[in-house]
Protein backbone atom coordinates (compact mmCIF):
# COMPACT_ATOMS: atom_id res chain seq x y z
CA UNK A 1 0.00 0.00 0.00
CA UNK A 2 2.75 2.37 1.03
CA UNK A 3 4.55 1.66 -2.24
CA UNK A 4 1.39 2.09 -4.29
CA UNK A 5 0.62 5.49 -2.79
CA UNK A 6 4.05 6.92 -3.51
CA UNK A 7 4.39 5.39 -6.90
CA UNK A 8 3.34 5.59 -10.49
CA UNK A 9 -0.42 5.33 -9.95
CA UNK A 10 -0.64 8.49 -7.86
CA UNK A 11 1.75 10.26 -10.22
CA UNK A 12 -0.49 9.37 -13.17
CA UNK A 13 -3.62 10.49 -11.36
CA UNK A 14 -1.99 13.82 -10.51
CA UNK A 15 -1.31 14.42 -14.21
CA UNK A 16 -4.83 13.43 -15.10
CA UNK A 17 -6.08 16.05 -12.63
CA UNK A 18 -3.92 18.73 -14.29
CA UNK A 19 -5.25 17.83 -17.73
CA UNK A 20 -8.85 17.58 -16.54
CA UNK A 21 -8.52 21.12 -15.18
CA UNK A 22 -7.03 22.37 -18.45
CA UNK A 23 -9.82 20.74 -20.45
CA UNK A 24 -12.43 22.29 -18.13
CA UNK A 25 -10.82 25.72 -18.56
CA UNK A 26 -10.84 25.26 -22.32
CA UNK A 27 -14.49 24.30 -22.04
CA UNK A 28 -15.11 27.62 -20.28
CA UNK A 29 -13.21 29.58 -22.92
CA UNK A 30 -14.57 27.81 -25.97
CA UNK A 31 -18.11 26.84 -25.07
CA UNK A 32 -19.05 29.67 -22.77
CA UNK A 33 -17.17 32.67 -24.13
CA UNK A 34 -16.60 31.37 -27.67
CA UNK A 35 -12.84 31.95 -27.57
CA UNK A 36 -11.00 29.52 -29.85
CA UNK A 37 -7.80 29.17 -27.83
CA UNK A 38 -5.31 27.06 -29.78
CA UNK A 39 -2.45 28.22 -27.60
CA UNK A 40 -3.38 26.52 -24.34
CA UNK A 41 0.14 25.13 -24.02
CA UNK A 42 1.59 28.64 -24.37
CA UNK A 43 -0.19 29.89 -21.25
CA UNK A 44 0.47 26.61 -19.47
CA UNK A 45 4.16 26.75 -20.40
CA UNK A 46 4.42 30.42 -19.45
CA UNK A 47 3.00 29.64 -16.02
CA UNK A 48 5.26 26.63 -15.63
CA UNK A 49 8.43 28.40 -16.72
CA UNK A 50 7.88 31.65 -14.85
CA UNK A 51 7.03 29.72 -11.68
CA UNK A 52 10.08 27.47 -11.97
CA UNK A 53 12.37 30.39 -12.74
CA UNK A 54 11.11 32.33 -9.72
CA UNK A 55 11.42 29.27 -7.49
CA UNK A 56 14.76 27.87 -8.69
CA UNK A 57 16.67 30.93 -9.84
CA UNK A 58 14.89 33.64 -7.83
CA UNK A 59 14.58 31.65 -4.57
CA UNK A 60 11.03 33.00 -4.17
CA UNK A 61 8.81 31.04 -1.72
CA UNK A 62 6.53 28.45 -3.34
CA UNK A 63 3.13 30.08 -2.80
CA UNK A 64 4.38 33.54 -3.79
CA UNK A 65 5.98 32.08 -6.92
CA UNK A 66 2.67 30.45 -7.90
CA UNK A 67 0.81 33.74 -7.41
CA UNK A 68 3.42 35.69 -9.39
CA UNK A 69 3.35 33.11 -12.19
CA UNK A 70 -0.44 33.50 -12.40
CA UNK A 71 -0.06 37.26 -12.55
CA UNK A 72 2.58 37.09 -15.30
CA UNK A 73 0.42 34.73 -17.35
CA UNK A 74 -2.60 36.95 -16.73
CA UNK A 75 -0.84 40.14 -17.82
CA UNK A 76 0.55 38.54 -20.98
CA UNK A 77 -2.83 37.06 -21.88
CA UNK A 78 -4.52 40.40 -21.25
CA UNK A 79 -2.17 42.07 -23.74
CA UNK A 80 -2.71 39.25 -26.25
CA UNK A 81 -6.46 39.46 -25.69
CA UNK A 82 -6.39 43.21 -26.33
CA UNK A 83 -4.80 42.52 -29.69
CA UNK A 84 -6.79 39.59 -31.03
CA UNK A 85 -10.05 39.04 -29.13
CA UNK A 86 -12.16 41.45 -31.17
CA UNK A 87 -11.18 39.70 -34.39
CA UNK A 88 -13.00 36.68 -35.80
CA UNK A 89 -12.55 33.06 -34.71
CA UNK A 90 -9.94 32.14 -37.28
CA UNK A 91 -7.77 35.11 -36.31
CA UNK A 92 -8.05 34.19 -32.62
CA UNK A 93 -7.10 30.61 -33.43
CA UNK A 94 -4.03 31.54 -35.45
CA UNK A 95 -3.04 34.32 -33.04
CA UNK A 96 -3.08 32.05 -29.98
CA UNK A 97 -1.27 29.31 -31.93
CA UNK A 98 1.41 31.84 -32.88
CA UNK A 99 1.67 32.90 -29.23
CA UNK A 100 2.23 29.31 -28.07
CA UNK A 101 4.89 28.85 -30.75
CA UNK A 102 6.67 32.02 -29.58
CA UNK A 103 6.74 30.69 -25.99
CA UNK A 104 8.11 27.35 -27.18
CA UNK A 105 10.82 29.02 -29.29
CA UNK A 106 11.82 31.38 -26.48
CA UNK A 107 12.08 28.54 -23.97
CA UNK A 108 14.55 26.88 -26.35
CA UNK A 109 16.56 29.91 -27.44
CA UNK A 110 16.91 31.80 -24.12
CA UNK A 111 19.50 29.45 -22.69
CA UNK A 112 20.79 32.02 -20.18
CA UNK A 113 17.35 32.01 -18.57
CA UNK A 114 15.77 28.61 -19.13
CA UNK A 115 18.84 26.39 -19.76
CA UNK A 116 17.27 25.61 -23.15
CA UNK A 117 16.99 21.93 -23.98
CA UNK A 118 19.20 21.07 -20.99
CA UNK A 119 16.18 21.56 -18.75
CA UNK A 120 15.44 23.73 -15.75
CA UNK A 121 15.32 22.25 -12.28
CA UNK A 122 15.04 20.94 -9.72
CA UNK A 123 11.52 21.99 -8.77
CA UNK A 124 10.67 20.36 -5.44
CA UNK A 125 7.40 19.93 -3.60
CA UNK A 126 6.70 22.79 -1.18
CA UNK A 127 6.83 20.37 1.75
CA UNK A 128 8.61 17.18 2.63
CA UNK A 129 6.61 14.29 4.02
CA UNK A 130 9.04 11.72 2.73
CA UNK A 131 7.30 9.18 0.54
CA UNK A 132 3.90 10.71 1.20
CA UNK A 133 4.82 14.08 -0.41
CA UNK A 134 3.42 13.08 -3.80
CA UNK A 135 0.18 11.84 -2.26
CA UNK A 136 -0.34 15.05 -0.28
CA UNK A 137 0.46 17.17 -3.32
CA UNK A 138 -2.00 15.18 -5.44
CA UNK A 139 -4.72 15.71 -2.85
CA UNK A 140 -4.09 19.47 -3.01
CA UNK A 141 -4.42 19.24 -6.81
CA UNK A 142 -7.66 17.30 -6.36
CA UNK A 143 -9.04 20.10 -4.18
CA UNK A 144 -8.20 22.70 -6.84
CA UNK A 145 -9.73 20.59 -9.61
CA UNK A 146 -12.96 20.10 -7.64
CA UNK A 147 -13.07 23.83 -6.87
CA UNK A 148 -12.67 24.60 -10.57
CA UNK A 149 -15.51 22.21 -11.44
CA UNK A 150 -17.74 23.83 -8.82
CA UNK A 151 -16.89 27.27 -10.15
CA UNK A 152 -17.71 26.13 -13.70
CA UNK A 153 -21.03 24.72 -12.53
CA UNK A 154 -21.97 27.90 -10.65
CA UNK A 155 -20.76 30.20 -13.41
CA UNK A 156 -22.93 28.59 -16.07
CA UNK A 157 -26.00 29.29 -13.92
CA UNK A 158 -25.06 32.85 -12.99
CA UNK A 159 -26.01 36.10 -14.78
CA UNK A 160 -22.33 36.57 -15.69
CA UNK A 161 -22.28 33.15 -17.34
CA UNK A 162 -25.38 34.08 -19.33
CA UNK A 163 -23.70 37.32 -20.39
CA UNK A 164 -20.70 35.37 -21.70
CA UNK A 165 -22.96 32.88 -23.44
CA UNK A 166 -24.86 35.70 -25.11
CA UNK A 167 -21.57 37.15 -26.36
CA UNK A 168 -20.50 33.87 -27.92
CA UNK A 169 -23.96 33.27 -29.39
CA UNK A 170 -24.50 36.66 -30.94
CA UNK A 171 -21.95 39.32 -30.17
CA UNK A 172 -23.67 42.08 -32.15
CA UNK A 173 -26.93 41.52 -30.30
CA UNK A 174 -25.38 41.72 -26.85
CA UNK A 175 -23.52 44.83 -27.96
CA UNK A 176 -26.79 46.42 -28.92
CA UNK A 177 -28.10 45.59 -25.44
CA UNK A 178 -25.37 47.80 -24.04
CA UNK A 179 -22.83 45.18 -23.00
CA UNK A 180 -19.17 45.97 -23.59
CA UNK A 181 -18.54 42.57 -25.13
CA UNK A 182 -14.86 42.98 -26.00
CA UNK A 183 -14.00 44.09 -22.48
CA UNK A 184 -15.98 41.25 -20.87
CA UNK A 185 -14.41 38.70 -23.16
CA UNK A 186 -10.92 39.98 -22.44
CA UNK A 187 -11.45 39.96 -18.67
CA UNK A 188 -12.72 36.40 -18.82
CA UNK A 189 -9.89 35.37 -21.17
CA UNK A 190 -7.30 36.89 -18.81
CA UNK A 191 -8.82 35.17 -15.80
CA UNK A 192 -9.03 31.73 -17.40
CA UNK A 193 -5.56 32.01 -18.95
CA UNK A 194 -4.13 32.95 -15.55
CA UNK A 195 -5.77 29.76 -14.23
CA UNK A 196 -4.18 27.78 -17.05
CA UNK A 197 -0.88 29.31 -15.94
CA UNK A 198 -1.72 28.30 -12.36
CA UNK A 199 -2.07 24.66 -13.37
CA UNK A 200 1.17 25.02 -15.34
CA UNK A 201 2.92 26.15 -12.17
CA UNK A 202 1.31 23.33 -10.20
CA UNK A 203 2.49 20.78 -12.79
CA UNK A 204 6.14 21.84 -12.45
CA UNK A 205 6.91 19.92 -9.17
CA UNK A 206 5.46 16.77 -10.75
CA UNK A 207 7.95 16.99 -13.61
CA UNK A 208 10.74 18.33 -11.34
CA UNK A 209 12.74 19.17 -14.49
CA UNK A 210 11.25 21.46 -17.15
CA UNK A 211 12.16 21.00 -20.82
CA UNK A 212 11.00 22.98 -23.92
CA UNK A 213 9.74 19.79 -25.55
CA UNK A 214 7.08 19.48 -22.80
CA UNK A 215 5.34 22.55 -24.16
CA UNK A 216 4.96 21.44 -27.79
CA UNK A 217 1.73 21.76 -29.74
CA UNK A 218 0.83 18.15 -28.88
CA UNK A 219 -0.38 19.26 -25.45
CA UNK A 220 -2.85 21.79 -26.84
CA UNK A 221 -4.04 19.27 -29.34
CA UNK A 222 -4.53 16.54 -26.71
CA UNK A 223 -6.64 18.87 -24.59
CA UNK A 224 -8.73 19.84 -27.60
CA UNK A 225 -9.39 16.27 -28.68
CA UNK A 226 -10.25 15.38 -25.07
CA UNK A 227 -12.79 18.19 -24.83
CA UNK A 228 -14.31 17.56 -28.25
CA UNK A 229 -14.52 13.84 -27.56
CA UNK A 230 -16.04 14.22 -24.12
CA UNK A 231 -18.54 16.88 -25.10
CA UNK A 232 -17.56 20.51 -25.38
CA UNK A 233 -20.86 21.87 -24.10
CA UNK A 234 -20.94 19.76 -20.95
CA UNK A 235 -19.43 20.35 -17.51
CA UNK A 236 -17.96 16.85 -17.37
CA UNK A 237 -16.99 16.79 -21.05
CA UNK A 238 -13.36 17.58 -20.31
CA UNK A 239 -13.19 15.03 -17.50
CA UNK A 240 -14.64 12.20 -19.57
CA UNK A 241 -12.53 13.15 -22.57
CA UNK A 242 -9.25 13.28 -20.65
CA UNK A 243 -9.93 9.88 -19.09
CA UNK A 244 -10.84 8.45 -22.50
CA UNK A 245 -7.71 9.81 -24.19
CA UNK A 246 -4.77 10.42 -21.85
CA UNK A 247 -6.03 8.01 -19.21
CA UNK A 248 -6.53 5.25 -21.72
CA UNK A 249 -3.41 5.80 -23.79
CA UNK A 250 -0.70 7.08 -21.51
CA UNK A 251 -1.52 4.99 -18.50
CA UNK A 252 -3.67 1.97 -19.25
CA UNK A 253 -2.09 0.99 -22.57
CA UNK A 254 1.47 1.96 -21.72
CA UNK A 255 1.48 0.35 -18.29
CA UNK A 256 -0.90 -2.59 -18.56
CA UNK A 257 -0.04 -3.88 -22.04
CA UNK A 258 3.60 -4.97 -22.20
CA UNK A 259 5.19 -3.23 -25.18
CA UNK A 260 8.51 -4.61 -26.45
CA UNK A 261 11.23 -1.98 -26.09
CA UNK A 262 11.98 -1.85 -29.82
CA UNK A 263 8.41 -0.63 -30.42
CA UNK A 264 8.41 1.86 -27.55
CA UNK A 265 9.29 4.84 -29.73
CA UNK A 266 6.40 4.32 -32.15
CA UNK A 267 3.77 4.35 -29.38
CA UNK A 268 3.50 8.19 -29.31
CA UNK A 269 3.13 8.16 -33.12
CA UNK A 270 0.28 5.66 -32.91
CA UNK A 271 -1.25 7.70 -30.12
CA UNK A 272 -1.36 11.00 -32.02
CA UNK A 273 -2.44 9.23 -35.19
CA UNK A 274 -5.42 7.71 -33.36
CA UNK A 275 -6.14 11.05 -31.63
CA UNK A 276 -6.31 12.74 -35.03
CA UNK A 277 -8.63 10.06 -36.36
CA UNK A 278 -10.80 10.32 -33.26
CA UNK A 279 -11.10 14.09 -33.69
CA UNK A 280 -12.15 13.69 -37.33
CA UNK A 281 -14.75 11.04 -36.47
CA UNK A 282 -16.16 13.05 -33.56
CA UNK A 283 -16.54 16.20 -35.65
CA UNK A 284 -18.14 14.33 -38.53
CA UNK A 285 -20.48 12.01 -36.71
CA UNK A 286 -20.93 13.25 -33.17
CA UNK A 287 -20.15 16.98 -33.12
CA UNK A 288 -21.05 17.39 -29.47
CA UNK A 289 -19.02 14.47 -28.15
CA UNK A 290 -19.84 11.49 -25.95
CA UNK A 291 -21.96 13.50 -23.53
CA UNK A 292 -23.49 15.75 -26.15
CA UNK A 293 -26.64 15.44 -28.22
CA UNK A 294 -26.56 13.30 -31.30
CA UNK A 295 -27.85 15.87 -33.73
CA UNK A 296 -26.06 19.00 -34.66
CA UNK A 297 -27.89 22.31 -34.77
CA UNK A 298 -28.47 23.10 -38.41
CA UNK A 299 -26.89 26.46 -39.11
CA UNK A 300 -27.62 27.68 -42.59
Amino acid sequence: MEQLLSGYVIYSLAFLLIFISLATLLHLQFSLAGIVNFGVVGFWGLGMYSFSLLLVKGKVPFVLAVILACMITGIVSWILGRIILNLDDQAVLVGTLAFATIIEYLSTSEKWLTNGVMGLGTVNFPFNFGKKSLLVYSLILLVFTVLLMLYTYKLKKSPYGRLLLSISDNEKLSQSLGKSTFRQKNIFFTFTCALIGFFGAMAAPLYSFIFPRMIGSGVTFTIWIALMLGGRKKLFGGLIGVIATIGLFDYVIETVIPIPTQYAEIVPNIKFCVYGLMLILVLMFRPFGILGDKKMEIVK
Partner: protein, 286 residues
Protein backbone atom coordinates in the same frame (compact mmCIF):
# COMPACT_ATOMS: atom_id res chain seq x y z
CA UNK B 1 30.30 42.36 -42.50
CA UNK B 2 29.87 45.45 -44.63
CA UNK B 3 26.44 46.83 -45.32
CA UNK B 4 26.34 45.93 -49.01
CA UNK B 5 27.49 42.36 -48.32
CA UNK B 6 24.87 42.11 -45.59
CA UNK B 7 22.09 43.27 -47.90
CA UNK B 8 23.09 40.96 -50.70
CA UNK B 9 23.46 37.99 -48.34
CA UNK B 10 20.04 38.72 -46.86
CA UNK B 11 18.63 39.07 -50.35
CA UNK B 12 20.01 35.81 -51.70
CA UNK B 13 19.24 33.79 -48.58
CA UNK B 14 15.84 35.44 -48.44
CA UNK B 15 15.05 34.44 -52.00
CA UNK B 16 16.17 30.89 -51.25
CA UNK B 17 13.92 30.89 -48.18
CA UNK B 18 11.03 32.40 -50.11
CA UNK B 19 11.15 30.12 -53.15
CA UNK B 20 9.30 27.12 -51.66
CA UNK B 21 7.19 29.46 -49.55
CA UNK B 22 5.79 31.14 -52.67
CA UNK B 23 4.39 27.85 -53.97
CA UNK B 24 2.99 26.80 -50.61
CA UNK B 25 1.38 30.19 -50.09
CA UNK B 26 -0.24 30.11 -53.53
CA UNK B 27 -1.68 26.62 -52.93
CA UNK B 28 -2.91 27.53 -49.47
CA UNK B 29 -4.47 30.72 -50.84
CA UNK B 30 -6.32 28.81 -53.58
CA UNK B 31 -8.05 26.54 -51.05
CA UNK B 32 -8.75 29.47 -48.78
CA UNK B 33 -10.17 31.51 -51.61
CA UNK B 34 -12.38 28.65 -52.75
CA UNK B 35 -13.69 27.24 -49.48
CA UNK B 36 -13.05 30.04 -47.01
CA UNK B 37 -11.32 28.17 -44.20
CA UNK B 38 -7.79 27.81 -42.89
CA UNK B 39 -6.72 24.32 -43.94
CA UNK B 40 -4.08 23.31 -41.40
CA UNK B 41 -3.84 19.86 -43.01
CA UNK B 42 -2.23 21.61 -45.98
CA UNK B 43 0.98 21.27 -43.96
CA UNK B 44 0.89 17.53 -44.51
CA UNK B 45 0.53 18.03 -48.22
CA UNK B 46 3.89 19.77 -48.16
CA UNK B 47 5.49 17.03 -46.05
CA UNK B 48 4.07 14.24 -48.18
CA UNK B 49 5.30 15.92 -51.36
CA UNK B 50 8.82 15.80 -49.97
CA UNK B 51 8.41 12.17 -48.90
CA UNK B 52 7.09 11.15 -52.32
CA UNK B 53 10.20 12.70 -53.88
CA UNK B 54 12.38 10.85 -51.34
CA UNK B 55 10.75 7.58 -52.38
CA UNK B 56 11.44 8.17 -56.07
CA UNK B 57 14.85 9.75 -55.58
CA UNK B 58 16.45 7.62 -52.85
CA UNK B 59 14.59 4.35 -53.03
CA UNK B 60 13.97 4.01 -56.79
CA UNK B 61 17.16 5.85 -57.66
CA UNK B 62 15.51 8.36 -59.99
CA UNK B 63 17.16 11.63 -60.89
CA UNK B 64 16.05 14.43 -58.56
CA UNK B 65 14.42 16.45 -61.34
CA UNK B 66 12.62 13.37 -62.67
CA UNK B 67 11.32 12.62 -59.18
CA UNK B 68 9.71 16.06 -58.95
CA UNK B 69 6.97 15.25 -61.47
CA UNK B 70 5.41 12.11 -59.92
CA UNK B 71 5.64 13.60 -56.44
CA UNK B 72 3.75 16.72 -57.57
CA UNK B 73 1.05 14.53 -59.15
CA UNK B 74 0.79 12.28 -56.09
CA UNK B 75 0.51 15.19 -53.66
CA UNK B 76 -2.15 16.68 -55.91
CA UNK B 77 -4.06 13.41 -55.71
CA UNK B 78 -3.62 13.33 -51.94
CA UNK B 79 -5.10 16.81 -51.73
CA UNK B 80 -8.10 15.79 -53.84
CA UNK B 81 -8.51 12.73 -51.62
CA UNK B 82 -8.68 14.86 -48.46
CA UNK B 83 -11.23 17.07 -50.18
CA UNK B 84 -13.46 14.21 -51.29
CA UNK B 85 -13.20 12.05 -48.16
CA UNK B 86 -13.05 14.64 -45.38
CA UNK B 87 -13.87 18.21 -46.36
CA UNK B 88 -16.64 17.79 -48.93
CA UNK B 89 -18.73 15.58 -46.59
CA UNK B 90 -18.03 18.09 -43.83
CA UNK B 91 -19.30 21.01 -45.95
CA UNK B 92 -22.41 18.96 -46.73
CA UNK B 93 -23.02 18.26 -43.06
CA UNK B 94 -22.91 21.98 -42.36
CA UNK B 95 -19.84 21.88 -40.11
CA UNK B 96 -19.08 25.45 -39.02
CA UNK B 97 -15.98 27.43 -40.05
CA UNK B 98 -14.24 27.04 -36.70
CA UNK B 99 -15.02 23.33 -36.54
CA UNK B 100 -13.61 22.96 -40.06
CA UNK B 101 -10.26 24.27 -38.85
CA UNK B 102 -10.32 21.90 -35.88
CA UNK B 103 -11.20 19.12 -38.30
CA UNK B 104 -8.22 20.02 -40.47
CA UNK B 105 -5.98 20.01 -37.38
CA UNK B 106 -7.23 16.49 -36.64
CA UNK B 107 -6.48 15.41 -40.19
CA UNK B 108 -3.06 17.05 -39.96
CA UNK B 109 -2.15 15.05 -36.84
CA UNK B 110 -3.54 11.86 -38.34
CA UNK B 111 -1.46 12.17 -41.51
CA UNK B 112 1.69 13.51 -39.82
CA UNK B 113 1.92 10.75 -37.24
CA UNK B 114 0.64 8.18 -39.74
CA UNK B 115 3.54 9.03 -42.07
CA UNK B 116 5.91 8.86 -39.09
CA UNK B 117 4.74 5.28 -38.63
CA UNK B 118 5.62 4.54 -42.24
CA UNK B 119 8.80 6.58 -42.74
CA UNK B 120 10.06 6.62 -39.15
CA UNK B 121 11.34 9.66 -37.28
CA UNK B 122 14.54 9.89 -39.37
CA UNK B 123 15.64 12.76 -41.57
CA UNK B 124 16.15 12.20 -45.29
CA UNK B 125 18.39 13.91 -47.82
CA UNK B 126 18.03 13.95 -51.57
CA UNK B 127 20.87 12.63 -53.70
CA UNK B 128 21.99 14.90 -56.51
CA UNK B 129 24.21 14.15 -59.47
CA UNK B 130 27.34 16.33 -59.23
CA UNK B 131 25.99 19.75 -58.18
CA UNK B 132 28.22 22.65 -59.14
CA UNK B 133 28.89 25.66 -56.95
CA UNK B 134 28.27 29.10 -58.32
CA UNK B 135 28.46 32.56 -56.88
CA UNK B 136 25.70 35.16 -56.90
CA UNK B 137 26.36 38.65 -55.49
CA UNK B 138 29.40 37.19 -53.73
CA UNK B 139 27.41 34.48 -51.97
CA UNK B 140 27.91 30.81 -52.68
CA UNK B 141 24.92 29.06 -54.21
CA UNK B 142 24.60 25.59 -55.73
CA UNK B 143 23.29 24.88 -59.20
CA UNK B 144 20.47 22.87 -57.57
CA UNK B 145 19.30 25.90 -55.63
CA UNK B 146 19.45 28.06 -58.72
CA UNK B 147 17.44 25.53 -60.77
CA UNK B 148 14.88 25.19 -57.98
CA UNK B 149 14.39 28.96 -57.85
CA UNK B 150 13.97 29.05 -61.64
CA UNK B 151 11.42 26.22 -61.45
CA UNK B 152 9.51 28.03 -58.70
CA UNK B 153 9.35 31.17 -60.82
CA UNK B 154 8.06 29.22 -63.84
CA UNK B 155 5.50 27.20 -61.87
CA UNK B 156 4.12 30.13 -59.92
CA UNK B 157 3.80 32.22 -63.08
CA UNK B 158 1.97 29.28 -64.64
CA UNK B 159 -0.51 29.05 -61.75
CA UNK B 160 -0.92 32.82 -61.77
CA UNK B 161 -1.70 32.75 -65.48
CA UNK B 162 -4.12 29.87 -64.92
CA UNK B 163 -6.06 31.68 -62.19
CA UNK B 164 -6.28 35.12 -63.77
CA UNK B 165 -6.23 34.44 -67.50
CA UNK B 166 -7.97 31.14 -68.26
CA UNK B 167 -11.56 29.99 -68.29
CA UNK B 168 -11.06 27.55 -65.41
CA UNK B 169 -9.48 30.22 -63.27
CA UNK B 170 -12.45 32.44 -63.92
CA UNK B 171 -14.82 29.62 -62.94
CA UNK B 172 -12.92 29.10 -59.73
CA UNK B 173 -13.12 32.76 -58.86
CA UNK B 174 -16.81 32.79 -59.68
CA UNK B 175 -17.40 29.76 -57.45
CA UNK B 176 -15.46 31.33 -54.60
CA UNK B 177 -17.40 34.58 -54.82
CA UNK B 178 -20.92 33.21 -55.07
CA UNK B 179 -21.56 29.50 -55.26
CA UNK B 180 -25.25 29.70 -56.15
CA UNK B 181 -24.72 32.25 -58.91
CA UNK B 182 -21.86 30.17 -60.30
CA UNK B 183 -24.04 27.05 -60.36
CA UNK B 184 -26.83 28.90 -62.19
CA UNK B 185 -24.30 29.93 -64.82
CA UNK B 186 -23.64 26.26 -65.46
CA UNK B 187 -20.41 25.82 -63.52
CA UNK B 188 -20.00 22.34 -62.05
CA UNK B 189 -18.81 23.06 -58.49
CA UNK B 190 -17.43 19.57 -57.81
CA UNK B 191 -15.35 19.51 -60.98
CA UNK B 192 -13.88 22.96 -60.42
CA UNK B 193 -13.24 22.24 -56.72
CA UNK B 194 -11.42 19.00 -57.51
CA UNK B 195 -9.25 20.82 -60.03
CA UNK B 196 -8.39 23.59 -57.57
CA UNK B 197 -7.60 21.17 -54.75
CA UNK B 198 -5.39 19.23 -57.17
CA UNK B 199 -3.43 22.31 -58.21
CA UNK B 200 -3.14 23.47 -54.60
CA UNK B 201 -1.94 20.03 -53.51
CA UNK B 202 0.59 19.77 -56.31
CA UNK B 203 1.94 23.25 -55.50
CA UNK B 204 2.23 22.29 -51.82
CA UNK B 205 3.99 19.05 -52.70
CA UNK B 206 6.48 20.92 -54.88
CA UNK B 207 7.09 23.38 -52.05
CA UNK B 208 7.95 20.40 -49.85
CA UNK B 209 10.31 18.95 -52.46
CA UNK B 210 12.19 22.25 -52.87
CA UNK B 211 12.30 22.84 -49.14
CA UNK B 212 13.71 19.34 -48.71
CA UNK B 213 16.24 19.99 -51.46
CA UNK B 214 17.50 23.14 -49.68
CA UNK B 215 17.85 21.42 -46.30
CA UNK B 216 16.44 17.99 -45.41
CA UNK B 217 13.14 16.12 -45.21
CA UNK B 218 11.66 15.59 -41.75
CA UNK B 219 8.18 14.49 -40.58
CA UNK B 220 7.43 17.98 -39.24
CA UNK B 221 8.62 19.85 -42.35
CA UNK B 222 5.17 21.07 -43.32
CA UNK B 223 3.90 21.71 -39.83
CA UNK B 224 6.89 23.96 -39.09
CA UNK B 225 5.98 26.03 -42.13
CA UNK B 226 2.22 26.26 -41.83
CA UNK B 227 2.09 29.21 -39.42
CA UNK B 228 4.40 31.21 -41.69
CA UNK B 229 2.27 30.24 -44.69
CA UNK B 230 -0.94 31.38 -42.99
CA UNK B 231 0.86 34.56 -42.06
CA UNK B 232 2.08 35.18 -45.59
CA UNK B 233 -1.42 34.79 -46.99
CA UNK B 234 -2.78 37.26 -44.45
CA UNK B 235 -0.04 39.82 -45.08
CA UNK B 236 -0.56 39.43 -48.82
CA UNK B 237 -4.25 40.14 -48.56
CA UNK B 238 -6.62 37.29 -47.94
CA UNK B 239 -7.25 35.05 -50.89
CA UNK B 240 -5.18 37.09 -53.31
CA UNK B 241 -2.66 35.06 -55.29
CA UNK B 242 -0.79 38.20 -56.36
CA UNK B 243 -0.51 39.39 -52.76
CA UNK B 244 0.80 36.12 -51.40
CA UNK B 245 3.46 36.04 -54.11
CA UNK B 246 4.80 39.42 -53.04
CA UNK B 247 4.40 38.70 -49.32
CA UNK B 248 6.33 35.42 -49.41
CA UNK B 249 9.35 37.10 -50.98
CA UNK B 250 9.15 39.89 -48.39
CA UNK B 251 8.81 37.48 -45.49
CA UNK B 252 11.70 35.37 -46.77
CA UNK B 253 14.00 38.39 -46.92
CA UNK B 254 12.92 39.73 -43.50
CA UNK B 255 13.47 36.33 -41.86
CA UNK B 256 16.91 35.87 -43.30
CA UNK B 257 17.90 39.45 -42.41
CA UNK B 258 16.81 38.97 -38.77
CA UNK B 259 18.45 35.54 -38.70
CA UNK B 260 21.72 37.01 -39.97
CA UNK B 261 21.63 39.62 -37.21
CA UNK B 262 20.78 37.17 -34.41
CA UNK B 263 20.07 33.54 -33.61
CA UNK B 264 17.94 31.52 -36.09
CA UNK B 265 14.97 31.16 -33.74
CA UNK B 266 14.76 34.93 -33.27
CA UNK B 267 13.90 35.31 -36.94
CA UNK B 268 10.85 33.16 -36.33
CA UNK B 269 9.93 34.88 -33.07
CA UNK B 270 10.16 38.37 -34.59
CA UNK B 271 8.08 37.18 -37.52
CA UNK B 272 5.36 35.74 -35.29
CA UNK B 273 5.17 38.87 -33.14
CA UNK B 274 4.89 40.98 -36.30
CA UNK B 275 2.19 38.60 -37.45
CA UNK B 276 0.05 39.05 -34.33
CA UNK B 277 0.42 42.79 -34.78
CA UNK B 278 -0.62 42.56 -38.43
CA UNK B 279 -3.71 40.56 -37.47
CA UNK B 280 -4.77 43.55 -35.42
CA UNK B 281 -3.81 46.24 -37.92
CA UNK B 282 -5.60 44.75 -40.87
CA UNK B 283 -8.58 43.50 -38.89
CA UNK B 284 -9.21 41.07 -41.69
CA UNK B 285 -11.10 37.85 -41.68
CA UNK B 286 -8.48 35.18 -42.19
Amino acid sequence: MTFSLFTSTALVLGLLEAAPLVLAAIGFTLIFRLNGFTNVAYAENITLGAYFAVIFNSMFGWNFYAAIIPSALLSGLFSVLTYLVIFRPAFKRGVGKTELIILSVGLSFFVRYGSRLIFGNDLFNFTFDNPSYLSAFGIGITSIQLTCIALVVVISLGIYFFIYRTNYGERMRALADNENLAMISGINPTKVSILIWFIAGAAGGLAGVFYGAFSFVSPSLGYNLILIIIMVTIVGGVGSVRGSLAASVGVGIITSAVTLLSKPLYGQVVLLILFIGILKLRKVRI
